[in-house]
């Protein structure tokens, strides 16, 4: 009994279906594991993801649950620590026996837990932008990928500011592979890489990096900095009067640096995001309003928070159409190619070949006073690269991650 009590206490954010119809409460709940970093270096960007899942869950339960069954969350704080992901992934799959897991911020954490999902044949949603290339039937990815973020951003920057590009990136799988994408796209568009620097996670002092950039005199600086320590770069570059136009797939849309730092250190930053709270559409405004009603102190609603929110609704649709929580049944629904949702960003759909998601991509530009404007919007950008490169999850499941220099074998 004591053991049972402890395990119940350990389950942090259980949302009891108070408001659902009586019938819903009698049925067994659908359990959703949530593994996100609520403390540690990545917490700034990821606490909102948990809130997004809680908000969607509350709405769904208030409207009668999923196919009449209430949705129950099993939330663990992974503390920005890859080992915790592995421990908790085993726990939610083996002990809590959840029907699906929403997990992960950093690509290192995703690659840490993915083998465990494969081992126990679980079903995981990665609701985060990343470097792309995961071709794995056990995974659904709702975040944006390089062909959505870089194929839009880099040509725009080269055309607007010039051909010389410099990249500073976090030194782990995300930064390295993203930098490879940038390198390739810059070359395709007749640009030139004048420098590249990979920065270990946790580095917070950038004097010398700033000077290296000044030496190379780039027209465009691509910043792929991850974590709160690395975000110190902007303040220090601003103080040293380094004013190169910046481009990013992660900054602003994830760490809302334009809110955290004093203007104008992020001025002239361009980021491709699939959502941020400044998006000026009626759907987005309504979303921000209901979010603040539930979480009045939320510092910022970033793209991953929106992805996480949308993912719950997508999961609801999959289960209701499959009439089952079994992964094989759900994948038959995904294979039909019409699992779509009217998300706050616009309509999004899951691609059956890669199980990645199409997005509306907004080009967010940070002004001198750190206000955001959107010079360009690309509607319905598909996650085409994996499918074109030869990944087809409706036919086979390699459970591998591919990169431009390491594509699926069939197409070599």
């Amino acid at each position: 009994m004591a053991r049972h009590l402890i395990s119940t206490l350990a389950v942090l954010g259980i949302l009891l279906p108070f408001s659902g119809p009586a019938a819903a409460q009698e049925k067994t709940p659908i359990k959703l594991g949530v593994l996100e970093d609520q403390s540690g270096d990545f917490a700034v960007a990821t606490i909102g993801k948990v809130h997004g899942i809680q908000l969607a869950t509350a709405e769904i339960n208030a409207a009668g649950g999923i196919d009449g069954r209430p949705l129950e969350l099993v939330v663990y704080d992974t503390q920005s620590d890859n080992t915790r992901y592995q421990e908790f992934m085993r726990r939610v799959l083996q002990r809590d026996k959840v029907d699906a897991v929403f997990a992960g911020f950093s690509s290192a954490s995703r690659e840490a837990y993915r083998p465990i999902v494969n081992q126990f044949d679980g079903f995981a949603f990665y609701n985060n932008q990343y470097e792309g290339g995961v071709c794995d039937a056990n995974m659904v990815v709702t975040g944006a990928v390089p062909e959505q973020q870089f194929s839009t951003l880099i040509p725009y920057m080269i055309e607007k500011y010039g051909k010389k590009v410099y990249t500073i990136a976090a030194d782990y799988n995300f930064g390295q592979i993203s930098a490879e994408w940038v390198r390739n796209i810059v070359k395709e568009h007749g640009g030139e890489m004048v420098g590249e620097e990979f920065i270990p996670l946790g580095v917070s002092q950038f004097s010398q990096t700033i000077q290296n950039i000044q030496t190379a005199k780039p027209d465009v600086l691509v910043t792929l900095l991850v974590g709160t320590a690395q975000a110190s770069y902007y303040e220090q570059a601003g103080a040293a009067n380094l004013k190169v136009p910046m481009a990013s797939s992660v900054n602003v849309g994830q760490g809302y640096e334009h809110k955290r730092f004093k203007a104008p250190s992020l001025a002239n930053m361009y980021a491709t995001v699939n959502y941020i709270e400044e998006v000026d559409t009626p759907a987005s405004k309504a979303f921000v309003e209901k979010w603040h009603k539930k979480f009045p102190n939320e510092p910022y609603i970033n793209q991953e928070a929106e992805n996480s929110y949308s993912a719950v609704y997508l999961y609801k649709q999959m289960v209701e159409r499959a009439k089952s929580t079994k992964r094989d049944d759900i994948r038959k629904v995904i294979a039909q190619g019409d699992v779509c949702f009217d998300a706050p960003e616009g309509k999004v759909c899951i691609d059956p070949k890669s199980q990645h998601m199409s997005h509306t991509i907004y080009l967010a530009h940070v002004g001198e006073d750190h206000t955001i404007d959107f010079p360009k919007v690309w509607k319905d950008v598909k996650p085409y690269w994996l499918g074109d490169a030869g990944c087809d999850l409706t036919k086979s499941d390699p459970s591998a991650q591919y990169t431009p220099s390491n594509p699926p074998v069939a197409t070599k």
């Binding site: 946790g202 917070s204 220090q236 955290r260 004093k262 510092p299």
Partner: protein
């Protein structure tokens, strides 16, 4: 002229790395060198200094006063913690590591829960200047000056004031000092408070240039520990030369091959120094003299 510009650039970068190492390490060095306590909550005193000084700046206090306030509050909390926890563990050095580590985790998580995941920065003051092809931040020069001033002030405190003499006496032979009427309990408390205040000072000084998050102390802690480890127990003969050596190594390698090389080079330098001088730089200097 180009040579001069490059020389200035190397000097600036080394000075910048030196300032960061000295300011992050000297609080730790005082507590470890004088008291033999390995304070794993060092990063959280830095956090305290940064948060207090930033809040004070947001409330309209001028930056120098805000930084002083940050250092003061960190110092007072340090004295309080010494009285409540550390004092009972002086004869158990390993237990102080565990206790201060516990304090560190409680403070980091407590800050996250109470104050949220981030605090808005105040912006770096003083603007920038240009030498040759490069522009530099003026505030970084201020930080270098503060690092030197801190070392000078510590030297004066420990050699020219009554507190310094009593502190050194207490640390050297505690029971004799006590027999001669020194309130050793108070001295321990003040020394720990001084170390905490120095950590708070580092936090306050670097707060305008950094991300303000509950885990920000960890950005300082590796540099602080390696500096103290290779410096040895003495602040002036250890910490300062250690910071100078590491600063030059790190700046030169970062300029040559980027941040990763800088980090690797710094840690390799630590291994080499520890291998050749097991008692640290100060141990070696003192032995040569003897």
């Amino acid at each position: 002229m180009d040579v001069l510009y490059s020389a200035f650039s190397l000097l600036y970068q080394s000075g910048d790395a030196f300032a960061f190492l000295v300011l992050s390490a000297c609080g730790l060095a005082v507590i470890f060198g004088m008291m033999g306590v390995i304070n794993l909550a060092h990063g959280e005193f830095i956090l305290c200094g940064a948060y207090v000084s930033t809040s004070a700046t947001h409330m309209g206090l001028p930056l120098p006063l805000a930084i002083a306030l940050g250092a003061g509050v960190a110092g007072l909390i340090g004295m309080l913690l010494e009285r409540l926890i550390v004092r009972h563990l002086y004869s158990r050095p390993l237990d102080t590591i565990v206790a201060t580590w516990g304090i560190s985790m409680i403070v980091t998580q407590g800050t996250l829960i109470v104050l949220g995941s981030t605090m808005q920065g105040t912006g770096t003051p003083f603007g920038s200047f240009v030498v040759g092809n490069y522009s530099y931040s003026v505030y970084r020069i201020v930080l270098m000056g503060m690092a030197l001033a801190t070392l000078a002030a510590l030297w004066l405190v420990f050699t020219r004031t009554r507190f310094g003499v009593l502190a050194r006496a207490t640390i050297q032979v505690p029971h004799i000092a006590q027999a001669l009427g020194v309130n050793t309990g108070l001295i321990y408390s003040l020394t720990f408070g001084l170390g905490a205040a120095l950590a708070g000072l580092a936090g306050g000084l670097y707060a305008p240039t950094m991300t303000l998050v509950p885990t920000m102390g960890s950005a300082f802690i590796v540099e602080a520990f390696v500096t103290v480890v290779i410096g040895g127990a003495d602040i002036f003969l250890g910490t300062a030369p250690a910071a100078a050596i590491l600063g030059v190594v790190k700046a030169a390698l970062t300029s040559w091959q980027g941040q990763l090389a800088g980090q690797i080079g710094m840690l390799l330098a630590v291994i080499v120094v520890i291998r050749i001088l097991p008692r640290g730089i100060s141990g070696w200097i003192l032995k040569e003299r003897a």
